[in-house]
């Protein structure tokens, strides 16, 4: 009896998993053909020289070039610096905003503010970037106001077409996606915990360090995964507000592939970027997972 029912169960399980496989097949093929295929092609190209005009045999020259040529090293350094500073700026701003939204704003305004915050992020990227050019340019709003108030005599040129301007635009673009996961993590924290810390002799600064940051950590790691990685492949923002000093890997790839026709270098840089993203994603995931285990109750 028991054996028979076990067999029946096994048959039923096989049937279910067969059905799951049937459902999963079309999207799997789709992914394999349209995502895996081009990716494999890209990988192949990164080991070819000038592959557009025909194969030249396998070579590691492309990778050697991007890891030794000072021009490429500078672009990589620039990219890491811009993305890291932007990420840091966003975290510094996002954690207090998430704290205010989760604990200090009156409940009836909470959702409204959150919605406004998200809507601001949904603005068309080109329009937003051009708006920033108007804000930050020589004759821009910031310079005009500062001059009118008398803070400065001559316009500040460093506001636009620098790494600073790229950081400003990136940080304002991605801030909603940084704030929301942190807000979600903090929303799960009992407000009583903050009162308990206060009651036990902890000022807000200590409470932030000892309580809010550790409990927000899962959200912070998620924010890093979904914001830090996409920023690495940004090219529109640096192209429009970065000038020559705010040049990033995304721009270098675009230039090599579309303008210089050097697909090998472009492909190698894309792969390097992908590897970096996977590493950051893995570290972020590990961090989020460990923190979640510790923080959940």
């Amino acid at each position: 009896m028991a054996v028979a029912s076990a067999r029946a169960e096994a048959r039923a399980a096989a049937k279910v998993s067969g059905r799951v496989a049937a459902y999963a097949l079309p999207p799997s093929i789709w992914l394999l053909v349209l995502f895996g295929g081009p990716l494999a092609l890209l990988l192949w190209m990164s080991f070819q020289l000038r592959s557009i005009t025909g194969a030249t045999g396998y070579t590691l020259d492309n990778y050697a070039t991007i890891f030794t040529d000072p021009t490429y090293l500078k672009v990589m350094w620039n990219t890491v610096l811009i993305c890291t500073v932007s990420m840091a700026v966003m975290l510094i701003v996002a954690v207090p905003i998430a704290y205010l939204l989760a604990f200090r704003v009156r409940p009836r305004y909470e959702l409204l503010l959150l919605l406004m915050f998200v809507m601001a992020g949904e603005l068309n990227p080109l329009i937003r970037i051009y708006a920033w050019r108007i804000m930050l340019g020589r004759e821009g709003v910031v310079n005009s106001v500062l001059q009118a108030v008398g803070v400065i005599d001559a316009p500040i040129d460093a506001l636009l077409f620098t790494r600073l301007s790229v950081v400003i635009v990136l940080a304002t673009t991605y801030i909603p996606y940084t704030t929301i996961p942190i807000y979600a993590a903090l929303k799960a924290v009992e407000p009583d915990l903050l009162e308990a810390a206060n009651d036990l002799g902890s000022r807000l600064t200590t409470t932030f360090r000892k309580l809010l940051l550790p409990l927000a950590a899962p959200g912070i790691f998620v924010a890093i995964i979904i914001v830090y990685i996409p920023m690495f492949s940004e090219f529109a923002t640096p192209a429009l507000v970065g000038g020559t000093s705010g040049y990033m890997i995304g721009n270098a790839i675009q230039e090599q592939v579309l303008e210089a026709g050097n697909w090998g270098i472009g492909a190698a840089m894309s792969f390097m970027l992908l590897t970096l993203s996977v590493v950051v994603a893995f570290l972020g995931y590990r961090g989020a997972k460990i923190r979640r285990l510790e923080a959940s109750s």
Partner: protein, 362 residues
């Protein structure tokens, strides 16, 4: 008696917009006193406690901690600690880290912090649990950690906000004696907020019964139980049978009253506000009432009633009876003095010893 009181409230008022949550409340808590704020939800007891902890600032009046005005001090600068109803343990810290949180904020040496954590865990009998995390503990153990964490700070006054509310009945009864033992051992004043009159009576040195933001009665458990200051207090504390009477005249220390159905009785104790000729309320406790199947006046105060319900409760039987003018009384009788079977809906006689009756103005 020159030593200042551990805690003093002077004419404290708290308003939230139009609502007055606490209305001119004053009391003093002595050194190592177990003081309870007792009342139904919404009576202002929790708001009062939050003003003691510093989470609310009084609209009027003063809060003094060890003789110093602390009305506007933030919680982290007050010599009070609160045990939260939800325990509010820090989930990412071990039991020891939770308990050490307060002493560490005081910038004590590592050795001193360790000593305090050890002592606090000893006091609540959780020595072996230092390295567990809160979610590995049962509700009762979490409750003890919350208590240890507050005690480790060695506050002048420990504040407890319905700390046993989330525990099951058996554990709650155990913890009542535990809390009392801990309070005696550490010698810290406790201010205990509860809506459970049994808890308050069992543990407290004194109780303030609150109602609509005011203190209705402040006294020892015995005073509050036997000589309640108002009909509300009589009804809220324990089971009380309240019989409407007419106050007739004073007879020395006692009062003569007219019962429903024109019977007469003498009452040994009465509220100072009792006025002859006015309507009054006779307060009787179920365990002081005696029910007999036959009867009539037997030298004790009493009246004829009809038995409405009989409920077997194990060691006792509880009767609900109705006197003249629809006055309902609850009577608790030991099993050996149970009425004969089939007494329901029959006439009976209820009597009481006048020494255990108390008279209040209606």
């Amino acid at each position: 008696m020159n030593e200042p009181a551990a805690l003093e409230l002077r004419d404290v008022v708290k308003r939230f917009g139009e609502v007055t949550a606490v209305d001119h409340v004053s009391f003093t808590v002595g050194a190592s006193e177990f003081f309870s704020l007792l009342g139904p939800s919404g009576c202002g007891k929790t708001t009062t406690l939050r003003m003691l902890a510093g989470f609310e600032i009084p609209t009027e009046g003063q809060v003094l901690i060890q003789g110093n005005d602390a009305s506007r001090l933030p919680p982290y600068r007050r010599d009070t600690n609160l045990v939260f109803q939800s325990y509010a343990l820090f989930p990412h810290m071990t039991v020891a880290q939770n308990v050490a949180f307060g002493p560490e904020r005081k910038k004590l040496s590592k050795d001193e912090v360790r000593t305090r954590v050890g002592e606090a865990l000893d006091a609540v009998r959780l020595q072996g649990y230092a390295d567990r995390t809160p979610r590995e503990l049962s509700g009762g153990q979490q409750q003890r950690v919350a208590l240890a964490r507050a005690l480790a700070n060695r506050p002048a006054v420990l504040l407890l906000d319905e700390p046993l509310g989330a525990l099951d009945l058996k554990l709650r009864e155990e913890m009542q004696f535990e809390l009392k033992r801990i309070q005696r051992e550490v010698g810290i004043s406790f201010v205990y907020v509860t809506h459970d009159q049994g808890e308050a009576i069992t543990m407290s040195d004194r109780i303030a019964v609150m109602h609509d933001g005011r203190i209705e009665h402040l006294g020892t458990p015995e005073e509050i139980y036997l000589r309640p200051a108002s009909v509300f207090v009589a009804g809220f504390i324990g089971q009380a049978s309240l019989i409407p009477v007419t106050v007739e005249a004073r007879e020395g220390d006692a009062w003569a009253v007219m019962l429903p159905g024109k019977g007469r009785a003498t009452v040994a104790g009465a509220s100072p506000d009792t006025v002859p000729g006015a309507p009054g309320v006779l307060v009787l406790r179920p365990e002081h009432l005696q029910l007999s199947a036959e009867g009539g006046p037997n030298g004790r105060a009493g009246m004829a009633v009809r038995v409405l319900e009989e409920t077997f409760q194990g060691s006792v039987v509880r009767y609900l009876v109705e006197g003249p003018d629809a006055a309902k009384l609850s009577v608790v009788t030991p099993l050996d003095r149970r009425l004969p079977e089939g007494s329901s809906q029959r006439q009976a006689w209820v009597s009481w010893d006048e020494r255990w009756s108390y008279l209040l103005p209606a």
